[in-house]
């Protein structure tokens, strides 16, 4: 069963008299444990699409199914509950909570979103920090670690609740190429280890080399790209 199924999905923003068709009737599906990217220039609709999949923004029209559930119309409360249960987020700006340590940031969803007991939390957080290679930095604050390290912590936080789907909107936009590749490789490695589905977006064609499935977004329309053998499509 597909993790994400979108049918004739439309998102139109209306501000005053201006109508922006950010997503124009797209169809796609994402299979479990796959590693998917949406690539497109700025303004092509990547964020809009990921926000809809992530239950942060309701579609204007069409059907959207995530982890087997129709999420086309959910109340605020149900949407929040759904996100907390099934989806992990990695943000472009890392969005770690500045006053919490690395450990506490990863622990947060287990404490405030799902209510894990203390000891279980600790084991789980250390397991995830170990997996992303941050186990030796647990007591540092976000301001004390590098961008790449922040994104590792963010990946650990996204995975800590056993989310079935991790959404990452331009997770590498604020990183240099080397670090960006490292983060993409880490996410892929996490997919291999935990069988979590990863969907991320980027405007940088260079970093999609080792992505298995790529959708190209352009002005709200979607096209599935076939993987070229040499990975030198530009």
């Amino acid at each position: 069963m597909s993790v994400v199924v979108a049918k004739q999905l439309v998102k139109t923003y209306v501000t005053g008299d201006i109508k922006v068709e950010a997503i124009r009737a797209v169809n796609f599906s994402v299979e479990p444990a796959s590693f998917v990217s949406f690539i497109g220039p700025s303004g092509s609709g990547k964020t809009t699409l990921l926000n809809m999949i992530g239950c942060l923004d309701p579609p204007t029209a069409g059907q959207l199914q995530v982890v087997g559930q129709n999420i086309t119309r959910l109340s605020r409360q149900d949407a929040a509950r759904f996100r907390g249960e099934h989806i992990g987020f990695v943000f472009q700006d890392f969005n770690l909570i500045p006053v919490l340590t690395v450990f506490e940031n990863v622990e947060y969803p287990l404490q405030m979103v799902q209510s894990w007991p203390r000891e279980k939390r600790k084991t789980r957080v250390m397991e995830m920090l170990d997996a992303v290679g941050m186990a030796d930095q647990t007591h540092k604050y976000p301001s004390q670690i590098s961008g790449g390290q922040k994104q590792r912590v963010a990946v650990a936080r996204a995975l800590v609740t056993n989310a079935k789907l991790v959404l990452a909107d331009e997770p590498t936009a604020n990183l240099d190429k080397k670090t960006a590749n490292m983060v993409i490789n880490l996410m892929k490695q996490m997919r291999d280890e935990f069988k979590t589905t990863f969907i991320f977006s980027t405007h940088d064609p260079r970093i999609v080399d080792n992505v298995e499935i790529t959708f190209a977004l352009d002005d709200g329309t979607l096209q599935k790209l076939e993987k070229s053998a040499g990975g030198d499509h530009v």
């Binding site: 509950r81 996100r83 943000f91 700006d93 006053v99 979103v113």
Partner: protein
Amino acid sequence: MFNIFQLAARNLFRYKRRTLLTSTLITLGVVSVLLFISISGSFKALMIGQITDSMLGHIQIHKKGYLASIDSLPLNRNLTGKQIDKVVQILAEEDGIEAYSMRIKLGAMFSNFIETTNIRLNAVTPTDEMKTAPLLADRILEGEKEDLIKPGEILIPELIAIGMKVKVGDGIVLVANNKDGSVNGQNFTVRGILEGISGPGGRDGMIHIDDAKSLLRINTVEVSEITIRLKDIDKLPAVFTSLQEKLGSMKNQQGMPVFEVHTWEKISPFFNIAKMIDLMTFFIKIMLVAIVLVSIMNVMIMAVYERINEIGTISAIGTLPNKIMGLFVLEGFLMGILGTTVGTVISLISIAIMNATQISFDFGRQTGLLLSPTIGATDVVLVMVIVIVIAVLASLQPAWKAARMDPITALKHV
């Protein structure tokens, strides 16, 4: 719930500057309210003490109708033998009475052999009077304070001493009308000058009760008023009610009440001033509460604004709106508790220090009055509860705003 509590506490600890700022404001508010209550209360108690202890007493008993005609000091409205016995018997049954003094109040002509003027006098038994009005002796400006008054002596009010140019040791004559209309005169030696105070009886002179009887030719037991001092002024309402029930209900053959019982509050105009102090205290409390409310609200709104990104993040990853709301309200609540606790501790310590250092001040002619601020447990608890409730109320609106924030908009905020 416990998790939110833990997180809220941790946030307060981590957002140190904000926490310090808010709780300092709360602390300041609490300290000013508590100190104001205790100091104004101390002033009030001191002034009441001055009033009651230097003349008025706490409760006065008269024959029914006496107070209404007190200006003419009527001798025909005195309490007589059996009535006095009844009062003495009832006072003996009553707990909480420290002492009482029986006074004959009279008007007389005062002559220094050159000029004559009117004088109002209280005739007392010195031992009883000193126990009932312990500060009375302090009002003696010149002359011996010991034993208050002896037969043949008179304490004259300051105004008459000045007006009639009479000094301590001078001889004077008092001439008074008796009940039967005849006139009698008697010689006295000026024993001392009595400082005037405001309020009833504050400008009266004083003689020994035996002299009043001979001057007025009274050969039975007869007094104009019985002034009572309580062991504890806080028991005033209880003792008053009890005396009022027992004495106020007594009727004579004609079915008219025999006695009238009054508290100092009823007799002294100062009571209105005391009530004004209470009213002022109340308004200052309201003002301070408003200040606390506005400051916490301000800081909480700032906090929510500064943490929009954080709110967006925790909301996006699935924190339920009511938990976000709970987090912010709890932060306000904990800051309230912190500020209030610190404020209360500081206040109590300050009050203790003020009492230990014995701050003295002068009030009119009274010098060296000691400020002894106290605060009741109920006042402390009430202020604490109010301020904590205010802290929670002030964080409700910002917390609600945080909880309702759209995660996408919040995340976009930089």
